[in-house]
């Protein structure tokens, strides 16, 4: 008998929120933006995560749920969001904006974890955020894993949140 396959199957089945991955991810993202920035996100139709983004923030998940949650946006959007959070205009993609966008991703993961079935949150750890910026990089999803993405917008600035889970 293939024990590992059975264990992995069981782990994924118990970790998935009752509302499904996509709904939970979208709800978590909306919650963070509405509470911390004060403006609801709107749906973006036919938006695809860009292969090359200005900015990607990654937060790792380990334990009962293993994978990476990533937030993708433009540097301009990041400046806008952090300006809203701090109440002071951020015109440059500097330390404040990098720190702030990392916190946004961190809070999205925290909110997402709380939407998981009872007990899973306690057994799921998160890493510190990593911010990647530039114009020449590619992100590759885990092979054989599950990929979930949601696209939304805030004040005309799009964002994409992706979740790559290892089975």
């Amino acid at each position: 008998m293939n024990w590992q396959a059975a264990l992995d199957s069981g782990r994924s089945a118990t970790a998935e929120p009752t509302s499904g991955w996509t709904t939970a991810l979208e709800a978590a993202t909306r919650e963070v933006f509405e509470v911390m920035l004060g403006i609801p996100l709107h749906a973006v139709s036919d938006a695809e995560p860009p292969l090359v983004a200005d900015l990607t923030v990654m937060v790792g998940l380990s334990g009962q749920l293993r994978g990476v949650l990533s937030l993708h946006c433009t540097a301009e959007s990041a400046c806008l969001w952090v300006s809203r959070m701090l109440g002071t205009e951020q015109t440059e993609f500097g330390q404040n904006v990098r720190d702030g966008i990392g916190e946004v991703a961190n809070m999205v993961v925290g909110s997402f974890k709380r939407k998981l079935p009872p007990g899973v949150d306690d057994n799921c750890m998160i890493s510190t955020p990593t911010v990647i910026s530039g114009s020449d990089y590619h992100l590759h999803a885990l092979s054989g894993g599950e990929h979930v993405e949601v696209s939304m917008g805030f004040a005309g600035a799009p964002l994409w949140v992706t979740l790559d889970l290892r089975r």
Binding site: V35, M36, L86, E103, M107, D121, D122, I126, T128
Partner: protein, 124 residues
Amino acid sequence: MKNVLIVDDSSVMRKIIERCLRQAGMNLSKVHEANDGYEGLSVLQENAVDLILCDINMPTMDGLEFLQALATSEEARRIPVVMITTEGSEDRVYEALSNGARGYIRKPFTAEQLKEQVAPLLEA
């Protein structure tokens, strides 16, 4: 007028917390900042503080270790500590409260949620 210490490894989050406290009408004299638990202990050696707001996940000395360090000092253990963190699991909340935290706020939070937890502790 009260003195507050904010311990969080994100400088932006420290500024957001201070902004929320002031938005909520808290009467603050001085807001001290620390990047982790060790820095927080250094601030407390030099300054009188009425309330501490503290993250859990931080480098070097995390929020729970910071609570344990405070408990070893007769004077420091009297300062109320409210945890502000993305870690919202029941285990973490229990661990923080059993180590002496007086409140627990999950990020994201509003100024009103912050006020609800903080105001009674500053008025006491």
